[in-house]
């Protein structure tokens, strides 16, 4: 709590974040005006299909966007401090220490030629004043915490000796080493098989309640979000199209895109030949449509023949205290 004015329970407050990629073909607006808040100890789900900007959002928070990408506008207040205004050295103090991140692919995220214990020790020594032996002991404790059996022996294992689930646990141990206030989990279970997925998610939930950290859970799996998250943002083409508490979102999805996503979840007890899918693909990132980015694929827009959708982009409207949506269908709530 570096800022004395920081009093509310918003851990992270992202406002109007814009991350553009300046490519030879043109400017790709990967993240275009994203707003959301993450409260202390909350699991915040960030949902969307591939290429909607959810990973770039998470990379922007840690300022890990590489050229030709650049955060061009907005603010990322973490505990009242704007991360975008920190110096590189100050940012290094935040990375891994206050905010850490776990990646989609656990194995490539571990250095192949060093034992996992050694890699946890390194993460510890970067931020904490400890000697090698204390750090190693702490590393073994962490491996125990994330549920790796026979941790003291396993700490000497190399990444290639671990299974995917084990490697993800080791990754989580590294991320948790300095007890961060915020953990960004970028599709932490996509590369794992279903049973391991469940174990990892359970572990994350368990760690959240034990350590009291907030988690930003990035995923395209609505089932995972329904199970884990407290609050959800649905992203489409670099924008938040719907934001709600998890109950509100699944009970009453408002945006046609969110409805489409929920309808496209396969249901076991229904006899259907084909999955319900949203027609079309995510729009061309360089030549975005002028109006609502989802309009060309939107069933409702075509049925109701709403011309406004193709001309003007709707604002994020507050429909109820814990539900916001970016769609012309709910225009009456704008006042």
């Amino acid at each position: 709590m570096n800022d004395p004015n920081f009093q509310n329970d918003d851990l992270l407050d992202i406002h109007n974040l814009k991350t553009y990629f300046f490519t030879r073909e043109g400017v790709v607006r990967a993240v275009d005006g994203v707003d959301f808040k993450v409260k202390v100890g909350e699991i915040f789900g960030l949902v969307g299909e591939s290429g909607c900007g959810k990973s770039v959002t998470s990379l922007s928070i840690l300022r890990l966007v590489n050229p030709p990408g650049r955060v061009v506008d907005g603010s990322i207040l973490f505990q009242g401090r704007n991360l975008l205004e920190l110096t590189d050295a100050e940012m290094r103090q935040v990375r891994g220490n206050r905010i850490s991140m776990i990646f989609q692919q656990p194995l490539p995220s571990l250095d192949p030629i060093r034992p996992i214990g050694d890699q946890i020790v390194e993460a510890l020594l970067v931020h904490k004043k400890m000697d090698q032996r204390q750090a190693w002991k702490h590393a073994v404790d962490l491996l125990n915490l994330v549920g790796i059996p026979d941790a003291s022996r396993r700490s000497h294992s190399y990444p290639f000796e671990l299974s995917g689930g084990m490697a993800q646990r080791a990754m989580i141990a590294i991320a948790l080493s300095c007890e961060p206030e915020l953990l960004i989990a970028d599709e932490p279970t996509t590369a794992l098989d279903v049973t391991i997925q469940a174990q990892i998610l359970e572990l994350l939930c368990d760690l959240r309640s034990r350590l009291g950290m907030a988690i930003i859970l990035i995923t395209h799996d609505l089932g995972v979000v329904a199970e884990m998250a407290d609050w959800v943002s649905v992203m489409y083409a670099g924008r938040v199209v719907e934001e709600a508490s998890v109950n509100s979102l699944f009970e009453e999805p408002l945006h046609p895109y969110t409805r489409g996503l929920i309808e496209s979840i396969p249901v076991l007890d229904q006899d259907r030949k084909r999955l319900n899918a949203i027609p079309g693909v995510v729009c061309d990132c360089i030549n975005m449509p002028a109006g609502c980015k989802f309009a060309p694929r939107c069933k409702v827009q075509i049925e109701k023949n709403m011309t406004i959708c193709n001309k003007h982009e709707p604002h994020l409207l507050e429909v109820s205290p814990n539900h916001k949506v970016r769609c012309w269908l709910y225009e009456e709530f704008s006042h």
Binding site: L64, R95, F103, Q105, S109, D111, A123, H127, I174
Partner: protein, 295 residues
């Protein structure tokens, strides 16, 4: 419980299914290392092996063919050739070793730096200077440096290092580029590690495999370059015995006493070959994908 007496046989895993791959020496590596080991031992224990001093002249016994007293004959000043062969590798081996250490370290660090900052101004400067060095024949640059500085141990090391580091820099950059695109580098940044730490702990250690192979291959090459410089009179200076300078001294007598050329030539050949063989073999041993082709 007698009927329940089930004996569990100790499970023995077939050879090719063993969980941990057994460490096996590649024959080429063994031959290379053994021969090179012999060369090093002979060089170290030269004073014990030879009854003659390599610089003792005996003008009455000049250019003698091999005899019992002088198994490889004597040279134009009546010095024992075998003694000179024993001593002749000492300087060259040490210079090669020091040169390799300096140029490999410098080149690897520079290459790793360039790979982490690929496309930047620093990368351009480093790699264009590498191109500049590679555009000249190496021996010419070495000649220029040694000729300007007076021949000696350090001038030779300097000359060879200046031309040698470029190979490592290029290799380290090429390997480093691939490493820098890996997620574990991104993960290291996300952990808050400084650029220096990432370089030292992740990038350089991961480039060491190919660099090590290159070191072995370059050792023989450096040895040959030293011999070449000595042959031209700019390497190790007389009266210190050296294989390369023995060759150049033998040149006027090569028709009368061809063995004078033959033995130092063989010594250089065997040493360079053994190091290269050791390098090749070790490279095959530690490359998991090559392993299957010989095991």
């Amino acid at each position: 419980m007698d009927n329940m007496d089930i004996t569990v046989k100790e499970f023995s895993c077939p050879e090719d299914l063993r969980c941990t791959p057994r460490f096996r020496w590649h024959p080429t590596a063994i031959y290379g290392l053994v021969i090179f080991g012999l060369v090093v031992i002979v060089s170290i224990f030269a004073p014990l092996l030879s009854p003659y001093d390599p610089t003792d002249q005996d003008l009455r016994n000049r250019l003698k063919p091999p005899t019992v007293e002088h198994p490889l004959g004597t040279d134009n000043l009546g010095r024992d050739v075998l003694a000179r062969i024993y001593y002749g590798g000492r300087q060259a081996l040490v210079i090669s070793f020091v040169t390799i250490m300096i140029s490999a370290t410098f080149g690897t660090v520079m290459g790793a730096l360039a790979s982490r900052r690929a496309g930047s101004f620093l990368d351009e400067i480093l790699m264009r200077s590498v191109d500049l060095f590679l555009a000249f024949p190496q021996i010419i640059i070495s000649l220029m440096i040694v000729a300007t500085l007076k021949p000696g141990f350090w001038p030779l090391v300097l000359a060879l290092s200046i031309t040698g580091w470029t190979v490592y820099a290029r290799l380290a950059r090429a390997v480093g580029l691939e490493i820098c695109s890996q997620t574990y580098i991104e993960a290291a940044v996300a952990t808050g590690e400084s650029e220096w730490l990432i370089m030292r702990k992740h990038i350089i250690p991961n480039t060491l495999g190919p660099i090590l192979a290159q070191i072995f291959l370059r050792f023989g090459h450096t040895l040959l370059t030293i011999a070449g410089l000595s042959y031209l009179g700019l390497g190790i200076q007389p009266p210190t015995p050296d294989w390369g300078s023995m060759l150049s001294e033998a040149q006027p007598f090569m028709v009368r006493v061809p063995t004078l050329l033959l033995f130092p030539g063989l010594a250089i050949f065997i040493t360079a070959l053994s190091v290269t063989m050791a390098g090749q073999g070790l490279m095959l041993m530690f490359d998991p994908q090559q392993k299957r082709t010989w095991q």
